[in-house]
């Protein structure tokens, strides 16, 4: 199963996004979060991102959803510190955080491959909100 890591400047955003995504999952998908710094302040904790990526099961791949600037920057940096074979299985989705996480949870829990999950998230996560 593909697993999901949510990285946000805000612990509340990360927790809420995880809660929303978990509601949709069809089967066991590991959704982890790295939100905020110092247990609740706004910011990005590179050590926490590293710890999550080290501990999560990555054999089928990890899809990462991140919010603004330093969340993306810190993730890219931490990823470079991992062994190369692991780097190839960890992908940052070019998608909005909430929509990407919800779609990702559905797709991953249906047993889709890393490539399939990524393709669906990146294609479909920006939905037309005026034409639901």
């Amino acid at each position: 199963m593909v697993n999901i890591l949510i990285i946000s400047h805000s612990l509340k955003i990360a927790e809420g996004t995880k809660e929303l995504a978990e509601e949709m999952k069809q089967d066991e998908v590991d959704i982890q979060i790295a939100g905020g710094i110092n247990n609740g302040e706004l910011g990005t904790d590179a050590d926490l991102i590293e710890q999550k990526l080290k501990n999560m099961d990555y054999k089928d791949g990890i899809v990462v959803l991140a919010d603004l600037g330093s969340a993306v920057m810190s993730f890219n940096m931490v990823k470079e510190w991992l062994p190369e074979e692991k780097q190839n299985l960890i992908r940052l989705a070019n998608a909005p955080l909430v929509e990407g996480a919800v779609l990702g949870a559905v797709e991953a829990s249906l047993g889709k491959s890393l490539e399939e999950v990524m393709a669906t998230i990146e294609e479909n996560s920006i939905i037309n909100k005026n034409n639901l």
């Binding site: 706004l42 990005t44 330093s70 920057m73 940096m77």
Partner: protein, 206 residues
Amino acid sequence: MASETKKLFLETADVIIENKEYLTELDAAIGDGDHGINLARGFKKLKEKLENENFESRNELFKLTAMTLISNVGGASGPLYGTAFLNISKVISDEQLELDDLVEIAEEAIAGIQKRGKAEAGEKTMLDTIIPAAESLKQSRDNKHNLDTALSDCLDSAAEGMKSTIEMQATKGRASYLGERSIGHQDPGATSSYLILKTFIEGYLK
């Protein structure tokens, strides 16, 4: 040599901590208002670590500085300065540094920042201080100026670069969300870069 450099880092930490409010005010105008708070948190931690440790080499000192900032700053300036110092750690020797070495160090720092932030000159970032400073060092090297003159010119170029961000429109980072409204404010990252360079250069020239 490493102990002299450690002293410069301790002074830099004090300068950043003293300027916490100022940097935060600059950031509040065009960003999320945490640059001073973030950097002061990182440099405060750095100070604690440096005070309890002696370093055999500058390489070790720069590496520890990089990792401490990466782990404790909490904003984009953590990975940006962290990667710059990490890159510098790979090339810095424990010999007396010559102009050639300083040019190499500056180029490594810029490469590290660009790797993380993907910015170029003129985007209202820390690079608008650091790139002119590096260019000035290169010119001094090509014109065979002595080290003291080169450093004092380098600091002047850094200051001009920092001030040039006032008129720039931000196209990278949180300030870019403000579009044209980012014009008219000095960039906080360019300012912290200037403060770091200033402390190192004045500390050396002292």
